[in-house]
Symmetry: D2
Subunit: 360 residues, 4 copies
């Protein structure tokens, strides 16, 4: 396994869904960052289960504790260890999947790769792991605050319901005003209804989360193989259930002509910027100072409340029962995860960029 | 900069468009791989300029030489260095962009980040760099041959012209039968006409390359942060002009219900496989033995044969002249690049997977 | 900071002397290793304080708990997190060093580098951190057992008292028979007396630990920059208070002629080996199948029970008081640490070597 | 293999003794460093063969060329590729070792590990490889000049002849005044005579190179596992024929009492420094502003002009003939290599330290 991501600001993830807990280590966080525990908890609360009718009804407080690296309220440069203990861990709820592979889950691949697997609630492959990532992302955000860089995200699509407005036409401060986390409150209602309908049908549905990073300085990104867009994409594709990533004009941009797609550069009273932003804030793998925006596609949650045909460990046909407490659509709770992972990348590349020039 | 990618099978890229040449080092290639030079050259020929009316008319033979690591026709375990010297390097062709930033190129961002830039033909940010990647990819393919893993790619979209057939319905052996590298020869003709029309309009257009990796063993991929899909995505997003990546059902999959999207598992006379493959061959970040397929979105080439408004190094308004020899659409020549980068990832993860179990 | 070591079998260290505790994550441990908790505790017991009159009188049980990665008594391939909570943490014992820099400690350098430091008991720079390393080393040893590789160490020098016998002339099974951990029981007594005398003088003294790795297969080590000897040296030089490392003939070998130093190769009934072993089991950075042996020099412990002159945080002259509970000589407790770090390197390079050849 | 070292300022080594040449890539060198080619050549000249009667009589000019990364005399941030082509490559000189393993060389271990080896002149395991390192070190020195950090080295021991003076008592400007590279000219003569005597005896002898790094800022080094001393040690142990490394008081320090060994801290008119420097300029893995000094032990060169008994590839007893042109003692030519490797580490850690604090 490879449970670390980052170059300077590095996070290492650990834990399982139904073991002692999940957690994260942040190594390379600069010393002296004020660690606002209330903020960290508020970020975890955005991700936790049981927030509304359209999220899983599991009840987990997702309280956290620092095990190391914070002294008198500040980072010390030492690795910051955060533990989030498991509470609502009903292992026996998972006896029915002990010996059978759930379709489109990681049961089969983990078992084949490792020859053993902690089957309880998905074990290491559970999305519960992302609680640690959100905690690490909160610390990244605290660091980025000092650089004025903001990482936001919102739901832009659920099933066929797709926002036609771009992030520029939306009021992102409304994202938290509804359970779907879509800043267009009209669309949010429709999305809520759709998810609730899907839930009643004991089914699930996919969606898209859009990320927006603003106030980005020019010069972040390390071409050729740590282009900023590649690093953000890598981080997003690490999130459970993600099947696609596009930045700037993305897949729609392929239909355009260069003469339209190119972003003209102008000097606006000393601030150099582009008149359009099809590039999505990155050119040649390096930030150009414009907003970075991107879409992340989440497939429908694999756990459905219906019986499905599969096989057991011995290779015999078997039925996977649909039970437990699960999300009918993952994107509302994925919003803070997308923000966290983008903040972790931005923190890392902000520090990396400090090495681009020699400081005497 | 960060010019190395990979964990075990690692490539390091170097060189500039109009310096002495470009090249690549492959470190971690197992010893004893037969190095078929004819094959490597044939792969380079697929990427080289001047292949047809719809690619750039620059003439570069892209001949290569080994500088190290190959002895008596085989890899020795030592780093393999490949040099591809520049020949058709008319530096003075680029005097017109010495002091002006081309829109949607990396001129501005490189200059700001580094305070200096080799402006000739894009220098380090030129797509010419990918010649080295294709050479490295050829060696990865030679290694993967022993594992029977095949990495293929083809053009599936140019502008609005999009293949409706999936890779399963196509005869991929036809990909090289036409200049567009689309295996559907009817569609290839249409695409050719479109690109040629765009060329005559002195403009450019985007496209999509689809990659297919077949005969993949179960168990490749290192969750959480080196999931196979994330590693492939990272590699694709490292290619010049790429704005999007999706694997399996991708962005279309978000519209589906879980009950439809889930890939049922069955035992087909001892071979465990899934009846559908919306997962795209990866579950929980680990290959499940099904074909891996993905789409890569390329924006329209930024260099157009039209004048554009921009600024110069001093921040004054300036016009970028449209001249030189460039591709009206990058995807035909991007096909071998996509294949190469996917082969490099697969070689790396095949070796990494050899560490998953202890061998006594 | 950089708190991770290793390529495949990687450990990440965290924690502080007087915070919640110390710990370690092992990422990349193969799945299916039986985790013998009794053995891990016995290794920790060899390192823990308070073992005899000549070690610090602090009482710490150094009990550990798994937080992740172990399921039904086996490793699962997931990161193994081990927590060792602090118990005997009298923070106020350290108020006297809050604002003053102890000579030859890391107080000044941490304060200057990070601008903040957890001063309690040395915080992050405390040797207490190595408890986590010993736990990780125990797991490495459990893995290496399957390969029959053994990592041993013993005290070969305290002050001027130096063993004249090589490891081959000693019975290493006697190492644990005395408090000094010197397998020559006569010398052990002398060393004990010396350390005890130094202790009574409220002073400290240095020493040497010799490591021996036996039953090593041919082929471990990744030249050029991950030579096996360099990796072992790196690991040893990471241990607190280490000032020197030599492998094989080491510093004495420089006095020899090549004709004497060279290790002749012979075929002993099918087993190829060398008649002498001045190389210390490594040639060209790669193990040659002979025993690996090396010496590690530990300086005298910096904390002495005497007053010393120094400065405070404001730069004023200040006296550091000699108080607390500390080791008069670190080498007896360093033996398990040297073993642990060598086991971690050997586990890592055993797995890395599994990538040297392609397995079809 | 693993042919890259460094975190930010990274070098990748490639090439073989009797292939096309050797070389190096420097990735992560900051942009804007003036590349003084004359200086680079002068450093290579210090390492090249044929400098005097006591070095190998091979004649290699070791001329170099830039293949990438330098534009208009400056680094651009792109990878700098340096090629040093082989000239005096008489491959047939090595036919006698094609099938036989030279004692204490890497022939056997390379063959066993890789199943194939470029036997000509040692191939990849030849010390010729270090020419590339010296070139990279020259660029590191050019960068360090701007920080005023100086990396020097000299021969302090040949066989039993050991300098009793510390580096502080020597005039290091005299190092280049003699062929041995010992700054004590009296001792240099004795050493020269000894080496020349050994040469006439067709034998070889070992030695020690002492490195001194001066004007080091406080705060370089990344504990726990990238302590500055561990990184320097790792780099030194990567050099061919090195068997030992000690920093500061080293192995002698183990004999001292803490009360003597500890370096008292004082404030000397605003400059905080230590009255002694047994620590060797590093405390807790971090530089404290004092000089860093260390010893590197080189074993006697394995190639001797005498016949030796060994085995051939089939395991039969065989005689290795003593012929060719080799160094009777490696340390005079190792001085620039030690300097180069220490400069590479210092350049890397200087850049890494730029990430310790957040810069708004």
């Amino acid at each position: 396994m490879s449970n670390t991501i980052g170059n300077i600001f590095k996070i290492t993830s650990f834990g399982e869904s139904h073991g002692a807990g999940v957690g994260v280590i942040i190594d390379g966080c600069p010393a002296g960052i004020e660690i606002d525990e209330t903020f960290i908890q508020s970020e975890l609360d955005r991700r936790k289960p049981g927030q509304s009718r359209i999220t899983t009804q599991r009840k987990e407080a997702d309280g956290f504790e620092f095990f190391s690296g914070v002294f008198e309220g500040k980072s010390t440069g030492a690795p910051i260890t955060i533990l989030i203990k498991n509470q609502d861990q009903k292992s026996k709820d998972y006896d029915h999947i002990k010996d059978v592979y759930r379709p489109s889950h990681a049961d089969f691949t983990y078992q084949e790769k490792y020859g053993i697997r902690d089957y309880r609630g998905g074990g290491r492959s559970s999305a519960r792991i992302t609680a640690g990532w959100v905690a690490a992302g909160a610390i990244a955000k605290l660091m980025l605050r000092q650089l004025k860089i903001a990482c936001q995200a919102y739901v832009s699509q659920v099933g066929e319901l797709q926002l036609s407005k771009s992030y520029k036409e939306l009021d992102l401060s409304q994202t938290e005003s509804n359970d779907v986390r879509c800043p267009d409150t009209e669309m949010a209602k429709e999305m809520f209804e759709l998810i609730d309908q899907v839930r009643k049908e004991r089914d699930t549905i996919g969606g898209v989360v859009t990320g927006v990073i603003s106030n980005v300085p020019v010069g972040l990104g390390e071409p050729l193989f740590d282009k900023l867009n590649a690093a953000i994409g890598h981080a997003m594709l690490s999130i459970n259930a993600v099947k696609g990533f596009e930045l700037g004009s993305g897949f729609e941009g392929v239909k355009m002509r260069g003469s339209t797609h190119n972003d003209s550069i102008e000097n606006n009273d000393g601030r150099i910027h582009t008149t359009t932003n099809h590039s999505g804030g990155v050119q040649g793998g390096i930030s150009n100072g414009e907003d970075i925006y991107f879409n992340v596609a989440f497939k429908p949650v694999a756990t459905i409340m219906q019986d499905q045909s599969s096989i057991d460990k011995e290779g015999n046909a078997a039925t996977v029962q649909g039970k437990g407490r699960h999300d009918p659509c993952v994107v509302p709770r994925a919003v803070p995860i997308v923000e966290a992972m983008s903040a972790i990348v931005m923190a890392d590349f902000s520090l990396l960029a400090q090495t681009n020039k020699l400081r005497g």
